[in-house]
Subunit: 208 residues, 4 copies
DNA sequence: AATGAATGAGAGTTCATTCAT
DNA sequence: TATGAATGAACTCTCATTCAT
């Protein structure tokens, strides 16, 4: 039944409404978490009726999973683009910058992801193992190679990646706290400079 | 009525049961978030009956708020102890170490806090403004002073603090992801070395 | 509007689609009962869309009633054919055989009917009173006449008819149970012999 | 959780309310079938609120299964009591009488069972295989023994049992139809005489 | 201090039916 | 004639909270 619907090519209305729903759901899930979000909220935010939402998605969970899957692709793109042929320091600083950009442009996606991981990754763990793990293993090896070649200061590649994720996503995930502490001033601009400095100092090979 | 309870000094049983409830609730709230947690789960985990829990606490929210308040004190202690009279680099590296320690010792508290902030800090925002803001302002000024005195490499104090929080709490909050990527190997031990190196490189004043 | 449809003579497509719908609905209603059946199931089984089904029938109930009415005609035909001019015992044994045949050929119709009666005949009671009652009264009188004439062993005609219905329809209505108890062996063949013997022994006039 | 409740010995209120619910549910399920029955109806009929019903039973299905299980024990008791040491004809006629009695005393149980079998025994099939099949096999063998010994007229034991079930349960399951055809006159009294005669004629060994 | 019993307010979901084309 | 889209009503079930003891 549902198969049929997704098998046939979707109409314009279907495309539009699925987008609306996902957009609304992203907002709601990001703010309240999976359990905290309600279909009523998504319905209201999307301007569709609750049963109509269930006309497009099998249920609450399918909406959530769809969001997570869409998210992961975009989420990992910057890491994928770290180029073995590029200049090591430049590659990583670019990666940091792009990750920070994503936190600014897509804070809701970041929070959606954070919520999922916080709760033990119940729905996305398989994806992490299948997709994220090999990708990270690959890039960690690349970084290790750079370190071994003396092109980066010695550093644990995995922890380096974690620290990039942590520091960049922080501005999306902990936004409420950041706002309290920094007021209405420019956050991302100063953050960008700070993180550039930080990782430059950490990674620049020094003669010693 | 409620006043009476707090007016009279609590009996031993009261103290014990409130502890049990908070311990159980910490576990449950940290894993499932506020909305995702149920009193039934807390009741089961605490070994008390649901109505009995509501004898000690007005409701679900009060339990949550109590946990958050207790948490904040312990949470900020390491920052409070950053000593203006100490050696700047040592003070901060010690702070990093103590924060990481807290992530290892109290991951549930970290996740509880992360959950709250992720959702926009609806219940803890006042506390952040009243307590956290002045404390951070104070310590940021201290760090700025150290920087100005040339005792630390130039760095934005606020963002520095954020980066410490982000990198240390990451190991508690994103544990599920870290585990997928690092397997069963030692995480905190290598993290400690990594973060020590990281912040040392960032903060050590360099002649140039 | 609805009148128009029945006023004009139906096109070939109409005839074909109504047949499809009724065939599918029979399957679904017989298995799940009136409430348990859904238009979705009927739509899927018939290969038509849900709204299209409602183009041919006013609603779920009309489909059900249509099925019941069609059913009743066929259902009573064997009884109608019990011939006053025939040999009493042979007439009744033939009736038994034909009823059993219908259970084998049309088990879904049997179950549909059983479902309806089980629930108090809410939709078919009028039909029963108007059609079934006089027919049974007539045939009961016929049997009574045969009994009075000594051509059948003395027996209550109404209960005799009930016992014929009960024993023959049992193989359709309680098929699930029969299968559990008789395995995959031949059911209807042995049942036919059994029922022939049974009613023969019951009805054969004996000298006494 | 639920285990705990049923593990501890139930209070008087629990016993009373579970009885009320089962009594009400029997009425509702027997009339409308599993899908057709609603918790609202059961709630109304039992005088309890809907959530309160779910305080005593896990869900709709548990109520249904509980009823079926309770039913089966009582349902099979008469067959169990068919005594190998008794007089064959008397044993069976007594069984017929007791089954008819049950149809009169417990028509709702009979309809509940009929509903379940009609729908393919989705919930009770295992029980049928585990309990009913061996019991019937046992009694069928007993009857076959009586037949072989010439103490009963030759007859297929399985079909004999089916015919007893069919004819006796008919008065409960098809009550709506029987009422239409027999009016307000005595049904069970005449049915008892009829069935006694019927099975006597069928089973009495005849010299031939 | 404790708990069995009860419930109102929703939650997610289903479904017969209607709308619009 | 046909169907994608939409919905109101109802359904099962959950849960924080209250009642009564």
């Amino acid at each position: 039944m549902t198969e049929l619907k997704s098998a046939k090519k979707p109409t314009r209305i279907q495309i539009r409404n699925r987008k609306r729903i996902l957009e609304a759901a992203l907002e709601v899930f990001a703010q309240h978490g999976y359990r905290g979000a309600t279909l009523d909220q998504i319905a209201e935010a999307s301007g569709l009726s609750k049963p109509n939402i269930l006309y497009y998605f099998t249920g609450k969970e399918e909406i959530h999973v769809t969001l997570l899957n869409k998210l992961m692709d975009a989420w990992l793109a910057p890491l994928r683009e770290v180029d073995a042929a590029g200049d090591p320091l430049a590659e990583i600083l670019t990666y940091v910058q792009r990750k920070l950009e994503m936190s600014r442009e897509f804070p809701r996606e970041s929070r959606l992801f954070a919520n999922e991981i916080l709760q033990g990754a119940p729905r996305i763990a398989p994806h992490l193992e299948a997709v994220l793990r090999p990708l990270v293993a690959d890039k960690a090896a690349l970084i290790q190679g750079w370190v071994d070649a003396g092109r980066l200061a010695p550093v644990d590649p995995h922890h380096l990646i974690f620290s990039i994720w942590a520091t960049t996503q922080h501005y999306a995930d902990f936004d409420a706290q950041v706002r309290v502490l920094m007021g209405d001033g420019p956050v991302f601009e100063t953050a960008e400079a700070f993180l550039d400095t930080l990782f430059r100092r950490v990674l620049e090979p020094r003669p010693d």
